[in-house]
Amino acid sequence: MFDLSFLLEDGYLKLFRDGVLTTLRLFVVSGLLAIVVGVALTTLRALPVKLFKAFVIVVVEYHRNVPVLVQILVWYFGVPQLLPAGLRDWINAGNSEFFFATVALALNAGAFISEDMRSGLRAIPHTQQEAAWSIGLTYLQSFRYIILPQGIRVALPALLNQALLLFKNSSLAMAIGVHELLYRTRQIDNLTFRTFDVFLVATMLYLIGTLALMALSEHFARRRTAPSGV
């Protein structure tokens, strides 16, 4: 039914390999950036400053409510037009496709991560905070040693879910010509018209990625089960 022998012809295997590598690069770079963005947003929101809180709410709601594809297109086609011409030409001459896809994906995932972390932190009862203060810890110390470690554990399953979403969302970068796995898949499809064979390979490759992430998350979940009563 399926014939995958075409993979050995005309360097199609190499195209797939390049696609997988670009997808992984996109996932890792935007994932690390997303964690930074998520922590920054969570911290800003936790601070007792109304302006910060409002800023974070606007950022989070934009990224939750606008399709990721649109966010990527806005960064690629829209944002550079606002820059001075010299800077714009410099950006366009480089690998601006990968750069803007990474920025868009990182901000999107970062917004979701900040929400997950916030719910994780909110799950820790306020009495823990009071107990920490009563033994003389400062606000920062109680956050660092008591609240954060427990909050992260509660948020862990949701965070790993975000990792899966980010992995799959990376395929949207093909809309602006990033040569990731789905881009390469469609390119090979267009060259060979072996639609079903080509997409079978892509499906398997994406599954390997997501199943590996799921296995990793189960490993973590077993090692870091949230203490009972939380």
Partner: protein, 274 residues
């Protein structure tokens, strides 16, 4: 748990390709309708008419000619570029007149009729670009529309360029306008229109590189192993050309009666291997 996910995904993928097989020409005649697919947004080949909202164009005329020639009713399907080949392979459409250019690897998967359209694929650059020849595109970014034959051809004919494909030709042109890419690879016709529109509007101007990248030859596309259908389609296309039906349609959409003013310098004949 994950084993079950894997099994489910496998079955979902395998299930897509089961279909019965019979002589398709006999099926079409028995059914009394020809299901003919075209693209859905590719002016002037198959695109929505602003007034009637119906899909019209050069390729739709080919579908009409085929149905008329077979003596059956036309059931027209407007498809996205991505959906063209899967729709054909799963036999939800009988034939495609959907801007499909002949290429050797493609011909190994589907059958092509005689050519009914031949046109050069060329490169559009900004008028002030230093690029004069195809060689000078080496190491530069070029844009094309995803799934198009221009994109496929660029991979082999312009291997030293960095090809970026976009969802449709307008976003690819936008990338050229914004200076994100050095050139836009597409059919001569659409490129001429972009250049003309810019000339009328003013602002950034464009020019075509002199040498074509490739000469694309479109055929009606059918499933493999349907010799009767293929023979019937070829006969209808030759008649369509001989009785000036093809010429009238060409004049209307691409030639003297259109904004493009192109002249037809090919005829319906078997596609020559390039």
């Amino acid at each position: 748990m994950w084993q079950r996910h894997l099994a489910a995904a496998l079955f979902a993928t395998l299930g897509m390709t089961g279909f019965a097989h019979a002589d398709q020409l006999a099926d079409i005649k028995a059914r009394g309708t020809l299901v003919c697919g075209t693209q859905n947004a590719s002016e002037p080949y198959a695109f929505p008419d602003a007034a009637t909202r119906k899909i019209v164009g050069f390729d739709v005329d080919v579908c009409n000619a085929l149905a008329k020639g077979l003596g059956v009713k036309l059931e027209h399907r407007a498809l996205s570029t991505d959906a063209r080949i899967p729709e054909l392979k799963t036999r939800r459409v009988d034939v495609l007149a959907a801007a499909v250019a002949w290429m050797p690897a493609r011909a190994a998967q589907v059958d092509f009729s005689d050519q009914y359209f031949v046109a050069p694929i060329r490169v559009l650059v900004r008028a002030d670009s230093p690029v004069q020849t195809l060689d000078q595109l080496a190491g530069k970014k070029i844009a094309a529309s995803e799934g198009s034959s221009s994109a496929a051809v660029s991979v082999t004919r312009l291997p030293d360029s960095n090809l970026l494909t976009f969802h449709d030709i307008s976003s690819a042109f936008l990338a050229l306008q914004q200076g994100k890419v050095e050139g836009l690879v597409a059919g001569q016709l659409i490129l001429a229109r972009f250049a003309n529109e810019a000339a009328v509007k003013g602002g950034q101007q464009y020019r075509l590189l002199a040498k074509p990248v490739f000469e694309e030859r479109w055929g009606v596309v059918m499933n493999k192993g349907e010799p009767a259908l293929r023979e019937a389609v070829n006969k209808i296309l030759v008649d369509y050309d001989r009785t000036n039906g093809l010429q009238d349609s060409f004049d209307k959409w691409l030639g003297s009666k259109s904004v493009y003013k192109f002249t037809r310098d090919y005829k319906v004949e078997p596609i020559k291997v390039q």
